[in-house]
Assembly symmetry: D2
């Protein structure tokens, strides 16, 4: 399939490469030129402008956040001249942005699909992402081959694109919640003569199997937060998305508020560029351990 | 092995039956007589008094909480006349009580082991508990056949009995945390057009496999809280144990504080006797959904 | 003095009238025409455009929030053509906006002073506001006659305009904090056989004299929230300003987070247009009273 | 009047001296002997035992907390032999203890009045306490001369002694709330270029007059916490009383929970013996200032 691809950060590059690997023709664009050159070496073609990329029948975008999407893509001129049939936004953005984007695309005769993903860079490189997809059913069908190239499973979440963003925001909120819970427990254990690693062993082989407790738990018990698989500052961005979505829909989220304060403290103490697991430093600071 | 068994609530009965099933001779005692009669029908012998039960070489106890243990078993007279070599307390009690109990037992020449368990009644009936055990290594060895009769796995957590109680308290704290996190997310989803059951499907097959999210999540998405597998009021007891342990060791646990307020609100709204999953009613009340 | 005045909401009207009453020549502008007509009847002249108002040597503005200020006044064209020597922004806006505004005004050769006020409409009408003023000392001197017309006291808070906004944001944060504290205590009292009004009497004549506890406390003990002297929804706006300022400067404010969730719940329950004292309904809902 | 007086800590000594100064005959008892000797020098007589003190027609007690009251005074033997007509407990204890005490005293034909006080040691020495009194009206009348000797004003709060303890617990909860609120604001100010002392000046001369904001605020802006007028560890005790009262009556108090965690962190960081104003160190730690 002919695909336009906008946004070649670490995730975007891994995903675009999966499309190339599965035989799709990918035309890429990125604000800074180096990742474009990299992808061209891997077989992509370079789009000279966003408008050129939006000449492809399908455009995938994977940009940093609401602001960048708003600034680059929610542009009347770009969308009015686009020949793309559908734009699938795979970034973690707010449901509110999804609603604005869907409305704007519709006005210009373009389809809009939200398809944020679960998985870090290594998961993306292996084509094993979980893809949370919402939008018109016909568009989802059309995108299926692309999703299959990038993910191990696609979760259809209905016709309203915003629903997929709500799911992604919720998943990340639960992720940070689990990390905070284990962080508090680990300090309680340590202060009471129980090895946090022994506690983690019990938990992950009984109540809490799966990648989150085991993976972040290991970093927490070792207090080792580099390299950052998922930067802590991004965790604050995601919790803020949850809170903003809650505010807009009048849903108080006190646990998200607690996570926000905890993350902010971690950033104030210099852990913003470390892995999200460094949220546990806040628990240790509280207890003066 | 000759075993004394104190405390025949639902968990205690299931565990004592597992001992009988594996061929142990069990002498039981309970404050109310009916469960004793039941167990006698299953092959146990009735202890005429606590003292009689403490004549067995090993005593297992499974009582409701710190107060009951304190009132019935941390009794100078009982312990001074006991012939039991070791008392294994499998209830969910505070690490502080474990410390007092271990000291008191030692003074009377008795071993004390803490071995709280993970698993509800049905898991206990199947002999599949996870047993968190801490105490002198020799005692743990001696108790191994009993633990094997009751559990699928025993987790040795060191020589200090309190460590096992810290682990149990931490596990339950994480359990309630996970329920609160999903509860908040489910309301956010519902208020934003995403079916909470669809969200749960994504989560349990990606980041959060295992029994906790799936089991409690299903009750939350259905808002169905009866019968109570784990009573909400017991959840408050457990979170209070975490907070008390934190206070004693000067470890602030803001997430536990939030859970405490959330549970208390659920009780104020009449959900104390329902399943722990009814904590989610608080999220719904907050958002007026 | 010749004064331009932008923003004729309830507060703005009261303040502009004070300027007229003290003999100043006031040229007014407002987005909707009716308040302009009202002020003209009171002796003001109508500015045909913002640009015309900014021809006055001093411009006072009293707009709703950051967005409105940004949209109307932080306009390159307006500021480049302005003949005003100094613009004093008396609205409750963020310190971040003050920093941007000061920089932008300076670029166009205009002075910028932040002078948010403490006091509701009736206090403004009586000329009894507390004015929190920050900006270049020479500008503050020049504005003194205007401040004297509007307030009972001016608090100079240094050369950096943002400092005055920080003070205002902090004052409102303390105000909402005090209301939440008394609200929780009032429910505790009621649930325990102590008349909240009796409690309020003790508090206001011992530890907590002054207008806040007495005034909001009386509304809380009567559970009477109309008319709204200070709309609850505005309270959320102000707490959000505190949180945003905290985020930008990496200062976690867990009490502000709690207030935010409490206010949001009150809004979800339909109290957004009532007086700020209606925050107390959240405490009652929590306790199911 | 002949008065028995139990509990000669700093507050108790100051209050007993006021009784002596007003001509009452005071028979004192204390667990440690030295304060007794001191009071005897001031004109009191030494009670040889608690029973002897309870031979007086009126007994005032001012003990440390629930545990001490329970252990020393809620004693069947003591109360059954007492000839005192009324016992007035002026300590800060839980409403729950007041209920048990009132019931127990009634069973032994003794009156029980709760009369906790507002004011630190210096206020007590000057006879300027605010006395929050609840109990049978006839008893309150009888105690009036004693209250007049010790306080500047007595607040009658009804027939149920527990109500007075609820009022006291609430007052201290509001006190700690105000300190936390100003602490957070002071850090926000400091991080944003506003002198916290200037902020305090504005607040105390506008919205927040009275001793609490001014007194604690001055300690906070100077970060000077010694000598301790009110020990921080006692603040935690009082907030715990509020929370326990809330739990017993099913009233969630999230602000009290936040204060508890904040105080616990301050204690973990070594501030337990400093003045309550040291709660502000937690805000500074959060922001890494």
């Amino acid at each position: 399939m002919d695909v336009g691809f906008v946004g070649l950060g670490a995730m975007g590059r891994a995903m675009a490469r999966r499309l190339l690997a599965e035989g799709h023709a990918v035309r890429v664009w990125n604000r800074s030129p180096q990742p474009v050159a990299e992808l061209v070496r891997d077989g992509a073609s370079a789009g000279g402008s966003l408008a050129e990329v939006f000449e492809q029948p399908v455009v995938v975008s994977m940009l940093a956040d609401d602001h960048v999407v708003e600034a680059l893509l929610l542009d009347e001129e770009l969308l009015s001249s686009a020949r793309a049939g559908v734009h699938v936004n795979m970034a973690t953005v707010s449901p509110a942005l999804a609603r604005r984007a869907a409305e704007l695309h519709a006005r210009h005769g373009l389809g809009y699909v939200a398809a944020p993903v679960l998985g870090r860079t290594d998961v993306a490189a292996a084509g094993n992402l979980n893809i949370l997809a919402a939008g018109p059913a016909a568009e989802l069908d059309r995108l299926a081959p692309l999703f299959e190239a990038m993910g191990r499973r696609t979760w259809p979440l209905g016709e309203d694109p915003a629903a997929a963003n709500v799911a992604k925001v919720s998943a990340n909120f639960l992720l940070v919640s689990a990390i905070e819970a284990f962080s508090e427990a680990a300090v309680l254990a340590e202060a009471n003569g129980l090895d946090p690693a022994a506690l983690l062993g019990v938990l992950t082989e009984s109540l809490f199997p799966g990648p989150v407790y085991a993976g972040y738990g290991a970093m927490i018990t070792r207090q080792s937060f580099e390299p950052a698989g998922f930067r802590l500052a991004l965790g604050l961005k995601d919790v803020d998305l949850a809170l903003a979505t809650g505010t807009a829909s009048r849903v108080p989220l006190p646990l998200a508020s607690l996570l926000r304060d905890t993350l902010l403290q971690a950033i104030a103490h210099g852990h913003g560029e470390q892995d999200l697991a460094a949220i546990s430093t806040t628990s240790r600071t509280r207890a003066n351990i």
